[in-house]
């Protein structure tokens, strides 16, 4: 009986802890649906500089909140997505982009996998198409045949 109670208590605690881990709540008012969707998309694409494995949408850190606010204001000013991304990159570096831009620095990142796959395909093709050993080469020469016969007859 006591054990059951303890178990229930444990469950309640476990769930209450889960509830405490809520994602950040901001109250931004958007006049149109498109801006709202753009805001949501950008907060997902931009990375929080402080907590490096979270995007702006998912982070509770003060800097993420500041950047969300800045993002909101830039959207209200009618800035284009590309302008907003440049604004962030100018200040926090390429690092803030979860989807890095294609540049000489990121060629390996973008094209490396494709190159590796092509390389793999080429290697497979080369191996498969390599000419099988010709049958005539497998035939023993007269000398070899004699040697073999000798061995067999030795018994």
């Amino acid at each position: 009986m006591r054990l059951t109670r303890l178990f229930i208590l444990f469950l309640t605690l476990a769930f209450s802890v889960n509830q405490a881990e809520a994602s950040p709540v901001d109250t931004y008012v958007f006049h149109d649906e498109v801006t709202k969707i753009r805001f949501q998309a950008l907060t997902k694409e931009l990375r929080c500089p402080k907590c490096q494995n979270q995007n702006l949408a998912g982070s509770n850190s003060p800097i993420a909140a500041d950047l969300r606010k800045e993002l909101y204001e830039l959207l209200q000013q009618g800035k284009a997505d590309s302008e907003i991304v440049s604004f962030m990159v100018d200040r926090y570096g390429e690092f803030v982009l979860y989807r890095p831009r294609v540049s000489s620095l990121t060629y390996v990142l973008w094209f490396g996998p494709i190159v590796l796959i092509l390389l793999g395909i080429i290697i497979v093709i080369v191996i498969v198409r390599r000419k099988p050993v010709a049958k005539s080469d497998l035939v023993l020469s007269k000398e070899q045949q004699d040697k073999l016969n000798n061995f067999l007859n030795d018994k």
Partner: protein, 182 residues
Amino acid sequence: MGKLIRFLPLILVIALGVVLYRGLSLNPQDMPSALVGKTMPDFSLKTLKDNEQVGTQADLKGDIVLVNVWATWCPTCKYEHPYLVDIAKDPQVKLYGLNYKDDRAAAQQWLEHYEDPYVFSIFDDEGTLGLDLGVYGAPETFVIDHHGIIRKRFAGAIDTRVWRREFEPLIAQLIEEKKQGK
């Protein structure tokens, strides 16, 4: 040739291992600032001590400048404070403070209670200059050369070891550049 190809996978795996092993010891927080090589962003903000006085980027020009981002809510800032007091004694660099997202009274009290190492501190309670500088926490320290160009950004506390390793060579180089009139 044929033998070499046989060892190629082994060589590749070892090379990959070396690269990945090196990755383990890199500090992911150690990021170059996007602003290194650019001029100090324009700003016009009140100073911490005097609400009437305005500090701008023009005030920083002409000297080798350190801008230290600090706040009373930041425990690491307290740790590095004595080292900043020491650094401020060097006549060849000028140390300015950027009081970042702080409470004015608390910050003023901090400077009174401890020593004030800064020529002056800019009061940036909304973090606007902080945002332009790409600041994401405190303490951070920027090195700006005599042309007003940001040469280095360092995130984290300064102490004697960090100063010797991270700052001293650069400061010496900047002093030399300034002497030569570059």
